[in-house]
């Protein structure tokens, strides 16, 4: 995500850093490029302009120009301004007060409301809440079925009824929730255009009656200049409490994030990347700015790793490593954990400096192939890889739908990995070992 914005800014920054002496003209030129970059990233025209004006005002002060590292100073100003634009601090959902806490999910057609509602329900459930989804989209064909299926996937109850009166459906859902142990209600409303008065009034009516604690405006991360019109209109009607950006696993350029936050003044609460129900992240402005600016986001990466790796698994793995008994079983286990952390491409974004590995195409299928090869091995083969002879290699290749050369490559890599671990155990982490790490299967 955000590659283009990040790469362009990197180039501009590199030029700035390269300047020994910075003049007002240097800064003006760099800012012109920043502005163009923002516009290419779909940042709203007005938002881009005020962003540049703010940076300019701060950057042209004498302090910056006379400092030892003026280029660095300007970059810092841009960074700070971006964090400010994105909203400074993370704002969590407010679910306190008398249960059930109600969350209304609203937005344009195709922005990803239903998928988001299901992801949110699953995440809330995992954190100990008892959510229920409400199918309040009676217009799109099979929208209710879609929500029902997604709810079943994550074992979250879905309230639905055959009724053409959306307000009544919502009312009945609330009544049912009050009679059960449900403590969070998530209303999945129909997508609508902000200029459709009748449809917008339907939302207002629900909002007036239910007074939900959260109204989340869901926007496609790839949305263009119209983002601000839509967001403003929804916000004017419903007093939106938070913004959700979806499809951020594409190559969205982040312009929507910068613009919508800026024109509504409402915090971005979540970014959603991927179609599986795990791929929902709380939004942290500072971290997001770091990603845009190519600094990586180690904090989120570590958090994801902590979620995916059970402590006891990690301990066991460490023990195996220490005893130098790391075998293909453990390797398979490791792959599984890595997989749990989400799409590889989204992980790579969080690694500082990874932006430079631009051409390293991340191939998720390579991952699957490796897993398939491992799964085609017998228990014994996994424990004692040395017994895998030519005949076994052919069988494994056939079983996993790969070539013998793929199996060979995997075994070689595993060998190298073991050797490397031996070295690591001897606490001699050499440069050579680091080099070898680059040839691991996920690279």
């Amino acid at each position: 995500m955000l590659e283009q914005l990040r790469d362009n800014l990197q180039t501009i920054f590199k030029n700035l850093r390269g300047q020994g002496k910075i003049t007002e003209q240097n800064i003006a030129l760099a800012l012109r490029d920043v502005r163009r970059t923002l516009l290419e990233a779909d940042v709203n025209y007005g938002v881009a302009r005020s962003f540049i004006d703010a940076v300019k005002e701060k950057a042209l002060g004498e302090k910056v120009l006379l400092s030892i590292t003026p280029g660095q100073q300007v970059i810092k100003i841009i960074h700070d301004e971006m964090v400010r634009l994105l909203g400074d601090t993370q704002v969590p959902l407010k679910l306190d007060g008398l249960p059930p806490a109600m969350i209304m999910v609203v937005g344009l057609q195709g922005s990803g409301k239903t998928t988001f509602a299901a992801k949110l329900a699953k995440q809330l459930k995992a954190s100990g809440k008892r959510p229920m989804l409400v199918a309040a989209d009676i217009y799109r064909p099979a929208a209710i079925e879609q929500l029902q299926i997604l709810g079943e996937h994550s074992s979250v109850p879905v309230y639905r009824e055959q009724n053409r009166d959306v307000l009544r459906i919502c009312r009945n859902a609330l009544a049912q929730a009050r009679n059960s142990d449900v403590n969070v209600l998530i209303f999945d409303t129909a997508g609508r255009l902000h200029v459709d008065d009748a449809m917008m009034e339907e939302l207002s009516a629900i909002h007036r009656e239910l007074k939900p604690r959260e109204v989340l405006f869901v926007a496609d991360g790839m949305i263009g200049q119209d983002a601000v019109n839509a967001a403003k209109a929804f916000n004017a009607r419903l007093d939106v409490t938070g913004i959700v950006l979806t499809k951020m696993d594409g190559d969205a350029r982040g312009g929507a994030a910068l613009s919508i936050r800026s024109v509504t003044g409402k915090p971005i609460k979540y970014i959603s990347a991927g179609e599986s129900t795990e791929d929902l992240e709380a939004f942290h402005p500072e971290r997001f700015a770091n990603r845009i600016l190519g600094k990586g986001d180690v904090v989120t990466l570590v958090e994801k790793a902590q979620e995916a790796f059970e402590e006891k698994d990690a301990e066991r793995l460490e023990k195996q490593l220490r005893k130098n008994r790391f075998d293909l079983h453990d390797f398979r286990e490791q792959l599984k954990m890595l997989k749990k952390m989400g799409p590889l491409s989204s992980l790579v974004d969080m690694i500082p400096g990874a932006a430079k590995l631009k051409n390293a195409q991340i191939d998720e299928t390579q991952f699957q192939r490796t897993a398939a090869i491992l799964d085609s091995m017998t228990r014994e083969e996994k424990s004692r890889p040395e017994i895998i002879n030519a005949g076994r290699r052919r069988r494994i290749a056939a079983g996993s739908g790969t070539q013998v050369s793929d199996v060979n490559r995997l075994l070689n890599q595993f060998d190298q990995m073991k050797k490397m671990m031996k070295q690591m155990n001897r606490m001699k982490l050499s440069k050579q070992a680091m080099q070898k790490m680059k040839s691991m299967p996920w690279n």
């Binding site: 025209y45 195709g110 255009l193 263009g224 499809k247 696993d249 190559d251």
Partner: protein, 326 residues
């Protein structure tokens, strides 16, 4: 205000005024209103072009999602013109843009090759939430109404309830649908579906595929496989690959068009959701860079809300030129 009225009288329809201007105009009226309000507020009579004015024009070009390349092209042209002529007004600039876009879309083939192929196979692709399924329902209705035998293949085996959704559209349009709720492999359904289409003498086969983000290598490979399977049954098919684009998406549309084209040559665009305030300006950048014509535009959620694209009318509708009824 007087000037406003006078201007309106001067504006005339393009020569080839299509049959459905009102319908078209109504859907686009909100876009157009914003666009025109934007434009009108920029100009007074015979205002001299200066940097402040240029900046305001730039703002409204960007705000229409035209993107950097097209915006800069137009601004360059305006500057060139303004050197030839000291005074430049709204009419001049509107004319200039009409000319530019008109030339761009001039020789586009907008029809689907139904006559040359029986059945004519149309593959419909796009990212998630672009409006593929709804568009297929409308396309089916459009061609069925003109007497063609249409068959839909439900090849989105991925999204929950996607097949049920398409099924309802097929019923609304009154056309046959080939589906398999159990199947997980889209190419298999496509293979069966095309065979069925041939044996049932379908004129047009519409294939609905799962939404996929263009940067997902494995999903794009899956699409490639679908394309190959189609060609296995009918060697020169798909005869048409239509990319459905959400009209509210910004410059990412261009990337989508570029990436989808790498897997399966995109022969046309369908730009949806233009009944709001989004202007879909990115289609111009796509036309300019990739030479992919826009074939239809989507203006709502009803069966009839899909219209054949007409460049002249679209440009006119955006820039104002019809009676404003909104």
């Amino acid at each position: 205000m007087a000037w406003f009225k006078r201007k309106k009288q001067e504006e005339t329809l393009p020569e080839k005024a299509p049959e459905t201007p009102q319908r078209y105009e109504y859907g686009l009226s909100k876009s157009r209103k914003r666009f025109r309000e934007g434009l009108l507020s920029l100009f007074g009579l015979g205002m001299k072009i200066d940097s402040g004015l240029l900046e305001r024009i730039e703002a409204f070009l960007y705000e229409s999602d035209l993107g950097t390349a097209v915006t800069e092209l137009i601004l360059d042209e305006i500057e060139k013109e303004s050197r030839k002529k000291l005074l430049l007004n709204e009419a001049d600039i509107r004319e200039l843009m009409l000319r530019l876009f008109g030339e761009m879309f001039k020789d586009d083939e907008l029809s689907i090759p139904l006559e040359q192929n029986q059945p004519c196979v149309v593959l419909v692709v796009g990212v998630n939430g672009a409006g593929k399924t709804t568009t297929i329902g409308k396309l089916a209705s459009h061609y069925s109404a003109s007497g063609k035998k249409v068959l839909i293949i439900a090849a989105d085996t991925y999204r929950a309830a996607a097949i049920e959704q398409l099924d309802i559209w097929a019923q609304r349009a009154g056309v046959e649908i080939i589906k398999n709720l159990e199947a997980k492999n889209p190419s298999g359904i496509v293979y069966d579906g095309i065979q069925a289409g041939i044996s049932r003498n379908a004129d047009l086969i519409l294939i609905d595929t799962a939404g996929r983000l263009h940067n997902k290598a494995h999903l794009m490979q899956e699409l490639d496989k679908i394309r190959r399977v189609i060609a296995k049954v009918i060697p020169d098919a798909p005869h048409e690959t239509l990319l459905v684009l959400d009209g509210s998406i910004g410059q990412n549309s261009l990337v989508q068009a570029r990436e989808f084209s790498k897997v399966t040559p995109v022969s046309g665009l369908i730009v949806t959701k233009l009944d709001g305030t989004a202007k879909g300006g990115s289609m111009i950048a796509i036309r300019k860079e990739l030479h992919i014509p826009v074939k239809f535009i989507g203006l709502g959620e009803k069966l009839g809300d899909l219209l054949p694209f007409s460049p002249a009318m679209f440009v006119n509708a955006l820039f104002g030129g019809f009676e404003d009824r909104s």
